[in-house]
Amino acid sequence: MVSATELAYYATHPTELRSIIQWKTWHNPVHERDEKKESPELKECFRQLGLTSRSFAAVIQELHPELLVPVTLFYLVLRGLDTIEDDMTIAIEEKEPLLRNFHEIIDDERWTYNGNGPHEKDRELLVKFDNITKEFVKIKEPYKVIIRDIAKRMGNGMADYAKNQDLEANGVRTIKDYELYCHYVAGLVGEGLTRLFVEAKLANPALLQRPELMESMGQFLQQTNIIRDIREDHEDKRYFWPKEVWSKYVPKFADLFLPENREKALHCQSEMILIALRRADECLFYMAGVKEQSVFNFVAIPQSMAIATLELCFQNYAMFERNIKITKGSACQLMLESTQNLQVVCDVFRRYARKIHRKNSPRDPSFLEISIACGKIERFIESIFPTQTARTLPRDANGAIARKKKEDEETKWDMIYIMIAVLAVLALISFLMIGAAYLAGARFDLAISALKKGNFFPPKNPQGVASLASQFEGVASSSLAAPNAGHSEL
């Protein structure tokens, strides 16, 4: 399971290893599925969920019991649509009515489909789709209404795109088209989920009054995926980057991958990242409207992963050469931080905004706009969790300066007192040491005389001491302390 390169990576990145261990050890799901009460069909639904989604399966299964089944079915229904849309082996004449009628199909308890090509990886989902429709009829009517509505609009949007020959041949043209595509595949998901959350009373109904917020949630995730998957999509001949952006840098889309266009590719990448990054503050705003912990985790984890992915891609040419993704360690760290509260998620956003800002280069045409987008994220966080307000400022009219002057004055006197104390201690210790030496019979007179003659260093051997002593003995009248060594020498 664990490769040698991974081992080497985590040996050199202990904090990431720590995050993995912490996540595996300490993460407790907010809610757990009760498998005993589940029908065999529902068990099959969860199995399909695990097969079709790596990233969402875990968070969905921890959702509040009220929403667990509706959201699982919502995901599988959309996945079903996706599996039809993605499969290029299905003829358009067959595909279009399937997409446009999918919202009715889901009410048919016996519906299954085996028209997918043999290589479609999620083929099994549609082959056994009756498991999903059987569960769908059991959920509450308001949830069904929401899921049908989104399936209808998404199916029609996808059918329009599938029929669009121009798109097939030329890819997405304008930024507006690009955002419209993201709206159909992700913005609508955001809307459906928000309506489910509000219906279950787990999110603030005001979220429905600000539709641009839920739109941004979906756009941010989808755009991030489109940016990151550029290489893979190019190989599959799918073109989601709008011509309006890439044509500023290269004449043909494929030229982005030429080594001589390295810098141009990075500039194009920056502009794509900028378009996504401008949505980040609205994503944080949206998350402020979520009331329940499991729903919060469900929405926050993908958002944190997305901003981390944008940071990973930014100014990273490897994105054009191969698939890149954030390391498992970083992912675990992000999951730990995204399963707490909004303030912690805000810290994540600010941290990654600053990382992006640090890599930003003035040679990049999007340089200042990226700086502004990062600043906008920081300012938004400051507006919901202010570190400074008029009330936190010093009250007195003199303000900070007066306070600072007072503090300076205090530190000055503190300094003077400390100096006095230090000097006093030094004096005391010196006095004690000199006193002790005096009592023990030290000859300061000899030492001072030697110093006067310029002998600043003590003699190195006993003979030296003796000669020194004898030298001054004559001058000094006292012979009392004449060292015996000196006499024996004479």
Binding site: K359, P362, R363, F367, L368, G375, P386, G399, A400, A402
Partner: protein
């Protein structure tokens, strides 16, 4: 309220701008004053547009009446106002904030001059008075300002190291106190507080910033550059003055026609507004953008990052050495180090809600235009002389 009544076209291509009547702009030859006159003229916003300044305008605009005079001289002001009969006054005149000496001139022009203009306006029936204040009046020049709004207290006197800011604050207090004053209850005032103005004609921000590029200082950065700072393109400041004046006049019209006064949360009269580009950026990113616009090619990995403490130490030593040898002002001062490492940005929600303010010139466009203009005028110390007077692409 006002913005809906006065269709203000953001780009000056006039749709239907309600006339402001006869407007007098003081300091009309100055950096901001000139831009206000030019903007109002291009929008055809006034029945009569007059400018008052000590100096003549370097590039006078056709159709604008230019007057020279001293705003501290009450008698001559009263005479001038009697002659022009302005409906509205925009008061931008102020000495440059360059030197920080506690001068009588500063007090005289900023405080006494403003008082004189208020008195002359009230006595000659002016309806609306917009005063150019400064975002620095709530700043002690040292502390960080994080998303600061208009509820922050003014910092004046001993707490305010910049004497300029003290006088601007005192004048703002006078202006706002004159709003609906008992003797003249219909006279309406407002104050605009712009932060770090730059643009075409700028002498204080872009030229010294660009000098750093020509001195080869772009490879150094002091501090971690995580401090956000608000800069404001000059046209946006002019635009905000237009909006404020239009709002005051709309309030007056409304009350004259017998309608109720605006509610507290929509009031413009008697209020001050921060004005920025609504785009705080990391301090050095602004500088790098200016340098890049002038041709700098430095990459982030070529930059030496020095800590703030190190920068302060070097600046202190340089200040002492320059002082000891009488060399003038050093290339790096402690005040500069503090400013480059400081967070200073504002919330402009109030201006957005009550004035309908949105920046009309983006930061990046403003920088490109401003840099081109500064080099063209040849005001950047150390710039290649051949760039002066040369049109840049």
């Amino acid at each position: 309220m006002a913005p809906s009544e006065h269709t203000v076209n953001a780009y000056g291509k006039d749709e239907k701008v309600k006339s402001l009547g006869r407007v007098l702009v003081t300091g009309g030859s100055g950096f901001l004053g000139h831009h206000i006159v030019a903007l109002l003229d291009s929008r055809g916003a006034c029945a009569q547009l007059s400018s008052l300044d000590l100096r003549p305008d370097a590039n006078p605009i056709n159709g604008v009446e230019y007057h020279q005079g001293d705003i501290t001289d009450y008698d001559s002001m009263l005479k001038l106002f009697g002659k022009i009969k302005p409906d509205a006054v925009i008061h931008t005149a102020s000495p440059a904030a360059l030197n920080n000496n506690k001068s009588d001139l500063m007090y005289n022009v900023n405080v006494n001059g403003t008082k004189t203009l208020l008195r002359a306006s009230q006595e000659t029936g002016v309806k609306a008075f917009v005063y150019t204040s400064s975002a620095s009046i709530i700043h002690d020049t040292i502390s960080d300002l994080v998303n600061a709004d208009e509820t922050y207290p003014l910092i004046m006197g001993d707490a305010q190291p910049q004497y300029y800011s003290t006088t601007k604050a005192q004048a703002e207090v006078e202006v706002l106190a004159a709003n609906r004053a008992p003797n003249y209850p219909k006279f309406l005032t407002a104050a605009i507080r712009p932060s770090a103005m730059f643009g075409e004609g700028d002498v204080q921000l872009l030229p010294p910033g660009l000098s750093a590029y020509y001195r080869g200082q772009t490879r150094f950065q002091i501090g971690d550059n995580e401090n956000l700072f608000d800069f404001t393109e000059i046209t946006n400041v002019a635009h905000a003055h237009h909006l404020a004046l239009a709002a005051l006049l709309a309030t007056r019209d409304r009350e004259d026609s017998g309608l109720a006064a605006p509610l507290d949360h929509e009031r413009v009269d008697g209020e001050a507004f921060f004005i920025t580009n609504d785009a705080p950026v990391y301090f050095f990113d602004f500088a790098r953008m200016c340098w890049a616009a002038a041709g700098d090619k430095t990459q982030p990995n070529e930059v030496w990052v020095l800590s703030k403490e190190f920068g302060l130490t070097v600046a202190t030593i340089m200040e002492w050495v320059y002082w000891a040898f009488r060399l003038g002002k050093p290339n790096l001062t402690t005040a500069q180090v503090k400013y480059t490492c400081m967070t200073r940005y504002y919330s402009i929600d109030k201006a957005k809600k009550r004035l309908g303010y949105r920046p009309v010139v983006k930061l990046e466009d403003g920088i490109r235009r401003g840099v081109k203009d500064a080099l063209y005028r040849g005001v950047v110390v150390g710039q290649p002389p051949e760039l002066k007077g040369k049109k840049m692409q």
